[in-house]
């Protein structure tokens, strides 16, 4: 069975390009130009994954609103946001919308298609607990690379895909500093700055601190990068 992907993007050219790239991976796509069309269409036919632009026609937060509605119907629906601003990462994180991942524009269509594919894989893994493989334990932290999930003292930390990748990258060499450059590459995004990494790291820290306000394992190596302190 081929996966069905819903694409909500008000710009016709970009919409067509996304569809072309994703269909090229062998997925089915349904594209919508605005929130009401998307809501109606998705209710009629549930997709396996949704790619949402945030600004939809005249609605500045159209993507966020749509995300909330979709997750209300289907909490397990993987959602990828396409954002225009780094600070919107904060917003997504702050709103705790439950998005699985986000991609800052301009995106690479190839990266997008790969992400879609990996998220669908992840969804399969997560929905089939027996195939999840083993979690790696590092002190209070346990991390499962195949289900891309992390837990702190047994409690799940709700990280986005990008955040998980950054954390996993740090944990490859626990106790050693990882450079900004290396961290940037691990996000698999086309345009990232050290500022973006800082923003992500802050958000990861915040998510850990919600579970444990004494959490202090992510250290900034000033002028260099980050380090996981054991």
């Amino acid at each position: 069975m081929s996966y069905s992907i819903a694409i909500v993007e008000d710009d016709a050219d970009q919409r067509r390009n996304y569809c072309a790239a994703i269909e090229n991976k062998g997925f089915e796509t349904t594209a919508y130009a605005n929130r009401s069309d998307a809501l109606k269409g998705i209710q009629e036919r549930q997709p396996d994954l949704a790619v949402l632009d945030i600004i939809l026609e005249s609605e500045v937060d159209g993507g966020f609103m749509l995300c909330r509605d979709l997750l209300a119907q289907n909490p397990d629906l993987p959602i990828i946001f396409l954002t225009e601003r780094v600070d919107e990462i904060d917003k997504i994180s702050g709103l705790r919308l439950g998005a699985w991942d986000y991609q800052p524009k301009p995106i690479s269509a190839t990266f997008l298609a790969e992400r879609v594919a990996s998220l669908l894989r992840l969804k399969e893994v997560r929905s089939a607990p027996e195939s999840q493989g083993s979690a790696k334990n590092l002190g209070d932290l346990s991390i499962n690379e195949s289900s891309m999930q992390a837990a702190w003292r047994g409690e799940r930390v709700d990280l986005t895909l990008t955040e998980f990748r950054l954390l996993a990258h740090l944990l490859r060499v626990p106790g050693e500093a990882v450079t900004y450059d290396s961290l940037m590459k691990s996000t698999i995004q086309s345009y990232v700055t050290s500022n973006t990494i800082n923003t992500h790291m802050r958000n990861i820290r915040k998510k850990f601190r919600q579970l444990d306000d004494q959490f202090d394992c992510i250290k900034n190596e000033y002028g260099f990068g980050y380090r996981w302190a054991k």
Partner: protein, 704 residues
């Protein structure tokens, strides 16, 4: 800025206020005209008075005919012409018919009145004397009894001393004395030309005497009364009083011929503030009365007790008196009692039958004196005498002085009031303008950005400053809109550009999957590189534009700036070993409140900048100086000096002076550094080191 020209507003207003000084000037001009008018009026009035007196004396030839034929050279203490013979009987009845009484000529211890008839000088003397000592004829010496002394010079100019002595009531005897007044000269013989008669009262005696005028050569005479009484059995002269001031000094007084009848007439028409002279056809003074000015013409300010209240008056009055020229103190002019004749031009004119007036200076040249002279005519129209009326200009000057005082006082008061009012007005105006300037200044920060419109005062004022305030406010509002528009450009731009960029990017991706020739791939790569650069540019611009918002969202916590800096420098040295980094810190621990992420960003920007402008392989120095309130972070590279003119622009957005125009640099680094420093309450500046080794970027951050 070019040199400012022109004085401050208040100075200008005060200079303008000086124009008011023309008011007192005009006032004095008016007063001068008024003075001339008043003096003219006074002259006319005086002339009329003089003519009136002359009319009164019209045809009274007899008043002038009693003059002795040979008066030339004679002049005594006031001598009154006598109309009838005098019998020497120590009685004043003949005198009183001439209107002469002893009371009119008092001296210190006696009264004396002198008259003239037929070439003889008559005297009536009354002396206080309670101890009568008559001459004892058994003594040759004459200095042991009461007597009267006469001092005069004879025709040869030799000083003569005549002593009138008596042995009781009745006729007296006269001796010429030696210069000690002890013994008689001329072998002790009496002189019978000088005769007298004495009568004693209880406490006084009265002496009437006669001396031929031709014995006295130069019209000078002295009279003294010697009083003797017995002391310890000896009779001695104990007091001596005379018509002169001191016994040892000059005993002679000039004699002035006076007309008793004219004097009587004059006394009846005497004026308080003018002096009337009547002179005969030889211009000899025959009578006079009155004073040149009131004895106490006005209260001089010297007489007033000085108090705070009249200190002001005193100053004003002194100033105006000086201005007008009122002399202080007595006027020195012809003394009527010492003047026997006058020869002023107007008197000569009057003898020529012309009544004229004239202004002259007083003898001491301090006062102007107005003179009016009118001829006195006999019935056959001959000029028999002259009336001369003199008055000082004191009264007029006094009037003028008072007016000037008032004018001065009011002008000064109004000047002070106006100047104070103008000063207050100028101060208020200047203050309002300064306040507007201050408000305008605070509305815009050092980098020309609007800080929020703070013009709140003067917006409702109706005057030009109000207009200015409204205009500035309007301009600031427009600037604010424009600035808001500018600030939104990067964001809008990103939103608007990112979508088409995204279209291009995804299109390129899709294109890549098609079957491509090598040539196509080359073009595709070029397109991707171009796309990447635009993305980076837009991203950095938007990040910089959003930096302040991002900073505000950031949590502030305490961290050790020194530890962070040393870790940072160590890491940077590891990552890029091209330039040696030299770190100097004067403290190992600097607790600092802030956002470490952004301080790191700030360090990145400064270090990037230092590397870009540094000589190849030259070290970069990083200093951290700490005191109690703030720390100063310096990043110094060795390289070309910064153009001083560019320094204010260095920290502006989109300002780049890079030599090589490296792609990816848009002049945002130092701008970002400044925004971060300012967000932490600090400041950033750039300067060239004095030794010329390179530029220094210095960030000051407050501690605690």
């Amino acid at each position: 800025m070019s040199k400012l020209r022109g004085p401050r507003l208040s100075t200008k207003l005060i200079l303008l206020g000086l124009v008011l000084l023309v008011i007192p000037y005009l006032g004095t001009q008016t007063l001068r005209a008024m003075k001339n008018f008043l003096v003219g009026g006074q002259q006319q009035a005086q002339l009329m008075t003089a003519q009136g007196i002359a009319t009164l004396l019209y045809g009274r030839d007899e008043l002038f005919n009693d003059t002795p034929p040979t008066l030339e050279g004679y002049a005594t203490l006031p001598i009154y012409p006598l109309q009838s013979d005098i019998r020497l009987d120590a009685d004043d009845d003949e005198w009183s018919t001439h209107g002469l009484t002893l009371k009119s000529e008092p001296y210190s211890n006696f009264h004396l009145v002198l008259g003239e008839r037929d070439g003889n000088l008559y005297g009536l003397l009354e002396a206080n004397d309670s101890t009568s000592v008559n001459r004892d004829p058994s003594y040759n010496r004459l200095n042991h009894a009461d007597h009267v002394r006469l001092y005069f010079r004879d025709r040869e100019g030799v000083e003569q001393r005549a002593q009138i002595v008596w042995e009781g009531n009745g006729k007296t005897t006269t001796y010429f004395m030696d210069n000690q007044w002890v013994n008689a000269t001329d072998r002790g013989l009496p002189d019978y030309r000088i005769q007298g008669f004495i009568r004693r009262g209880d406490n006084d005696y009265r002496l009437e005497f006669r001396i031929p005028l031709n014995m006295i050569s130069d019209g000078h005479l002295g009279v003294a009364v010697a009083d003797a009484w017995e002391v310890e059995g000896r009779k001695e002269i104990n007091t001596l009083s005379g018509t002169f001031d001191t016994i040892d000094g000059n005993p002679y007084s000039p004699m002035v011929l006076r007309s008793a009848q004219l004097q009587t007439i004059l006394d009846s028409i005497a004026q308080t503030s003018s002096r009337i002279w009547i002179l005969d056809s030889e211009l000899r003074v025959r009578a006079n009365s009155g004073e040149l000015a009131d004895d106490n013409p006005y209260m001089t300010t010297d007489d007033l007790p000085i108090s705070a209240g009249n200190l002001w008056d005193s100053i004003i009055s002194r100033a105006t008196d000086r201005l007008i020229g009122i002399p202080r103190g007595d006027i020195e002019d012809y003394d009527p009692s010492l003047t026997s004749s006058r020869s002023d031009n107007i008197l000569v004119d009057a003898l020529d039958n012309r009544a004229t007036t004239h202004n002259r200076d007083s003898l001491d040249e301090k006062t102007r004196i107005i003179s009016a002279a009118s001829p006195i005519r006999s019935e056959d129209n001959q000029v028999i005498g002259v009336v001369l009326l003199e008055q000082s200009t004191h009264q007029v000057l006094q009037q003028q002085s008072k007016s000037l005082e008032r004018v001065t006082e009011r002008t000064l008061l109004s000047l002070i009031a106006i100047v104070v009012a103008m000063l207050l007005f100028a101060a208020r105006l200047a203050w309002r303008i300064r306040r507007l300037g201050r408000e305008t200044n605070t509305s815009i920060d050092d980098y020309g950005r609007l800080q929020g419109i703070s013009i709140s005062k003067d917006l409702r004022a109706g005057d030009e400053i109000g207009d200015l305030a409204r205009n500035i406010n309007l301009a600031l509002e427009k600037l604010n809109q424009h600035q808001g528009f500018l600030a939104n450009i990067p964001r809008t731009l990103r939103h608007e550009i990112n979508n088409p960029l995204n279209t291009i990017s995804t299109s390129l991706d899709n294109l890549e999957r098609e079957q491509l020739t090598d040539k196509d791939s080359t073009y595709l790569d070029s397109a991707r590189r171009g796309l990447m650069r635009i993305s980076v540019l837009i991203g950095k611009l938007a990040d910089a534009a959003n930096l302040e918002e991002a900073l505000n969202a950031e949590d502030i916590f305490e961290f050790d700036l020194a530890a962070m800096l040393s870790a940072y420098v160590e890491n940077q040295q590891k990552l890029s070993p091209d330039h040696k980094l030299l770190l100097n810190m004067d403290s190992d621990s600097v607790p600092f409140q802030g956002s470490d992420m952004h301080i790191e960003q700030l360090l990145d920007k400064l270090l990037d900048n230092a590397r870009d402008f540094s000589e190849k392989d030259a070290p970069i120095t990083i200093n951290l100086f700490v005191n109690r309130e703030l720390c100063e972070l310096q990043v110094i590279n060795q390289g070309p000096a910064i153009d001083e003119k560019q320094i204010p622009n260095l920290f502006q957005m989109m300002h780049s002076k890079r030599r090589d125009k490296t792609p990816g640099h848009f002049g945002l680094g130092l701008y970002v550094a400044r925004v971060i420093a300012e967000h932490h309450g600090g400041s950033i500046k750039a300067f060239n080191l004095e030794d010329g080794s390179g530029p220094c970027f210095s960030v000051r951050l407050p501690l605690g």
